[in-house]
Amino acid sequence: MKALAFGAALALSCAAYGQDVAKEIQRYRQMVAEGSPAELFELEGEELWKKPQGPKSVSLQRCDLGEGPGVLKAAYAHLPRYFKDADRVMDLEARLVHCMVTQQGRSREDAIARLFGTADRPSELELLSIYIAGQSRGVRLEPGMSHPKEKASYELGRALYFHRVGAWDFACASCHGDEGKRIRMQELPVLYKPQYARPVMASWPAYRISTSQVITLQWRMNDCYRQMRTPEPDFGSETTVALIHFLNATAHGAPYQGPGNKR
């Protein structure tokens, strides 16, 4: 009986300890959220946005991100969406590559030559993403959902989220499918449910503290598929855009608060 009581007391104190840790992590997250180093990169992204580049030596300032040529305000919050000139749904990064090719006259190979940067030198797309996303602060996430191709993209993303693939038979939902799951201290949000998707999607792209790097949603998709041991997805492909579309549509209505911080 005594041993049983002791066991119960131990279980109770462990639960309390777990809560304390979770609370402390919450406090730490709030602290870093108040001053995200991501802001430091917005300035560099702005310079890059205005810098003439490519064979045509023009800047990206006439790039139409969906709100009209050169309009940045609220552009990120309304992506992914259908673009008539490309006849497909694009997310921010796919659209930026499109503008680099069509407006700056660069080859696609050149535009995507260096997708993911390092702590010392973030990539062009990372810096641009941070800057452009920053112009949507406070705007509610409302990706395009009216055009038939937008609806198809959302449905494809939803299907892919649950579709098991690769040598390990993994789907996004294998990790992000049940509540209360975590890897070490990292909680795994159930991203097909709006209450979990909202805070997550409202803070991408972000600064990753453990690697001191700027990370984007295309990177996240790429790395999740790497962790699932599938072949590498094409950058800005229909697949990756569809998943981002599904996630942002699930987070629909959340005021954009990024660029944020990640572990």
Binding site: V32, G35, S36, P37, E39, L40, E44, D120, Y207, S212
Partner: protein, 104 residues
């Protein structure tokens, strides 16, 4: 890379001023090796100085235990709207950077 951008915000509370400053710095510990296996030399901010209207109010010595691209957040006693706050750092290579802002 060292003298990259800095950002600062200073907001007035009741009887105090909240200051938050972001700085770009590699903060190398001297323990890391690069891709070729060579040790990356130490490179970190040593001194942090905060001035309120030209008068030093905080003089901090920090070490390589602080993360890359650090964020510092602190409270200064007093302060008023329009006060000038200046933050500067000096690293072990003798490089430095500074930023100033006005309390809002």
């Amino acid at each position: 890379m060292a003298a990259g951008p800095m950002k600062m915000r200073a907001s007035l509370g009741t009887g105090f001023t909240d200051v938050r400053v972001l700085m770009t710095h590699p903060m190398e510990t001297g323990l890391r090796k690069d891709a070729d296996g060579k040790v990356v030399p130490q490179h970190f901010i040593q001194n942090l100085t905060v001035k309120l209207n030209g008068k030093t109010v905080l003089d901090a010595q920090i070490s390589q235990a602080v993360s890359r691209n650090p964020v510092f957040s602190f409270r200064l006693k007093g302060g008023a709207k329009g006060d000038k706050i200046e933050v500067s750092w000096l690293d072990n290579h003798g490089e430095s950077a500074a930023i100033e802002t006005v309390v809002a």
